[in-house]
Amino acid sequence: MSAPEPLRGGQAAPPAPPPDRPRLDARTVGRPVRARLALYWLALYRRRRMLLALALGMVAFETLIIVIIRTIPPEEMFAGSIRQPPSAFRAFSGSSGAVSLASYPGLLGAGLVHPFWIAMQLTVVGSFGAAAVAADVEAGTIELLMVRPVSRARLLAERTAALVSGSLVVTAAATVAVAAGVAATPRLHEMVSLRAVAAAGVLGLGLALCIAGPVLAVSAAGRHRGQVVGATIALGAGSFAINFIAQAWPTVSFLAYLSPFHYYTPADALVSGTVPLGSLAVLLAVFVAGVATAGWLLARRDLAP
């Protein structure tokens, strides 16, 4: 088939241009749309305000935790009557049991397992997870994106990268706030190194990604962002509850292995100063499995509102 002639205005004379000619220069376009990784930047650009608010919220929250911890002298911390809190409270300390909640690392760890911290992470995962596929399907914008030479694998890869970046920003904000607080508080710094704070941060990112994997799979198969947000909340709250119940009730302690929070032990990392590689591997394996499932589902579905 011979290629048609290029069209440059056509045979009919175009009407006179309006006085406000649409020159698509930098001023008209405004903030430029990046040609490379356009879907990645689009997802981040559309959620930039939310991401900034969450990062600031994380900084404010962890700063508050540090300020509270600084008000407790060491002698009061360890002379208290709750040296051995109930085992179920391990779920709130971010430790597998080696670190007491009634210690500086325990309290710092509690700040990294606090429902507020979890809610912030789930907000990022839910929002970016929904944005991966389901939100565009629901809004109908998927029709504009996917009638171009954009493979479904590319869509998922760029949107997954945006999710990872979002989680990284929020986790980094929390980690930097804790690190700054530790560095500014000598008696905290004596017990917790900055390297240990970084290790806890890495583990925190692992937890967020662990939840993100299945969330991406839901998004890849879903038609509504509500499905994805619901799945995110259910996964986050449900897995926390499972870990809590497993800690509280020895008969079902095996259930803890099913919860990502079992592998998320920031208090232990704050004491040891190293990332527990086995736990991190489990968290990342779930993420990878979730992304692979998402790719499989996305390749087989119809993409229409």
């Binding site: 048609p4 290029p6 009919a12 649409p22 509102p305």
Partner: protein, 324 residues
């Protein structure tokens, strides 16, 4: 001639619901092809199969000889598509949309500025977030993004929806130029006058099935004659010899009929035996021709499947809008 779009027994089901059923269609290079049918007839489903958003349940779709899903990466740079329900990112400006979609297209966009000018999208308009756009402005932006990379095949789903008459003129000029330059335009619509104006051939679809593929000229010739007869006061309406298939409607003493061309002379002979005070005969619009195709298809379906409900069950008096 070479087929640019070719559908063979294309079927799409959503569970038990049939979207389209065994559609066969062939669109030649350089053709402006109309795809006509009422809302819910399966036009958008067909188009989404053509652009690779939906995978067919059965049958095949080929565009430029390529499979829209398997050859997605090779096909999509060569097509331009305007969705029927254009959805945009409200917080992005018009210019950002064109940049984004051009970047994803991965090909140069030589016609962008010219199209913006001709469709009267000013630089000021393009600087505004599309959340502030009217429906017509969004549609203009949709047309620019569909045509800005000068594609070989243009697939437009209800393209004039929301455009004011002046911009519609520009749109039809663009379609005409596109066709003259050897490109193919596949234009879906429920507006008959739009198809009549822009297309040489038209496929009529209803309830997911292809009713007919006709040259627009043939459709026009085949259409019924609209007959208006006036009777004196007090004339008994029951005495008028008429058939139900002529769609008789009374308005006071005036009778309106739609009579197929083949029956016209005989019918008029019988009717003029009555005390008629006034008579007018004119060509019916394409919408009546459309109805005639439906009725014919219903009759054929009823003959094939006497127990099955006719397609036209519940068919509105005028299923297709005739917009002027």
């Amino acid at each position: 001639m070479t087929a640019v779009i070719e559908l063979a027994a294309l079927t799409k089901r959503y569970g038990a619901t049939v979207g389209i059923q065994e559609l066969d269609l062939r669109v030649e290079a350089g053709e402006v092809f109309g795809f006509l049918g009422p809302n819910g007839a399966g036009k958008t489903t067909t188009i989404r199969c053509l652009v690779g958003l939906l995978s067919p349940t059965a049958g095949t779709a080929r565009v430029l000889g390529l499979d829209p899903i398997a050859d997605h990466a090779r096909l999509t740079p060569r097509i331009g598509y305007l969705p029927g329900e254009l959805r945009l990112y409200g917080e992005l400006t018009g210019a950002q949309h064109l940049e984004l979609l051009g970047a994803l297209q991965g090909t140069p966009t030589p016609r962008r500025e010219e199209l913006c000018q001709r469709l009267e999208l000013t630089a000021r308009d393009l600087r505004r977030p599309v959340a502030q756009y009217s429906h017509g402005m969004k549609q203009k932006l949709g047309l620019v993004q569909a045509l800005q990379h000068d594609p070989e095949v243009v697939i437009l789903d209800e393209p004039t929806e929301g455009l004011d008459p002046l911009v519609q003129e520009t749109f039809f000029a663009l379609v005409s130029e596109t066709s003259e330059a050897g490109r193919t335009v596949f234009l879906s619509s429920h507006v008959l006058s739009e198809v009549q104006r822009a297309c040489r051939r038209v496929a009529i679809v209803r309830a997911g099935r292809l009713v007919a593929v006709e040259a627009v000229a043939a459709l026009r010739e085949a259409r019924a004659r609209r007959v208006r007869l006036s009777f004196p006061d007090g004339h008994d309406h029951g005495l008028v010899p008429m058939e139900a298939r002529w769609s008789p409607t009374w308005s006071g003493n005036e009778l309106r009929l739609l009579i197929p061309p083949a029956e016209l002379v005989a019918a008029l002979r019988r009717l003029l035996e009555l005390p008629v005070t006034d008579l007018a005969v004119e060509e019916a619009g394409l919408d009546e021709a459309f109805l005639a195709f439906y009725r014919q298809a219903e009759a054929e379906a009823a003959a094939r499947h006497p127990q099955a409900p006719a397609w036209g069950a519940g068919l509105p008096a005028n299923p297709v809008e005739h917009r002027r």
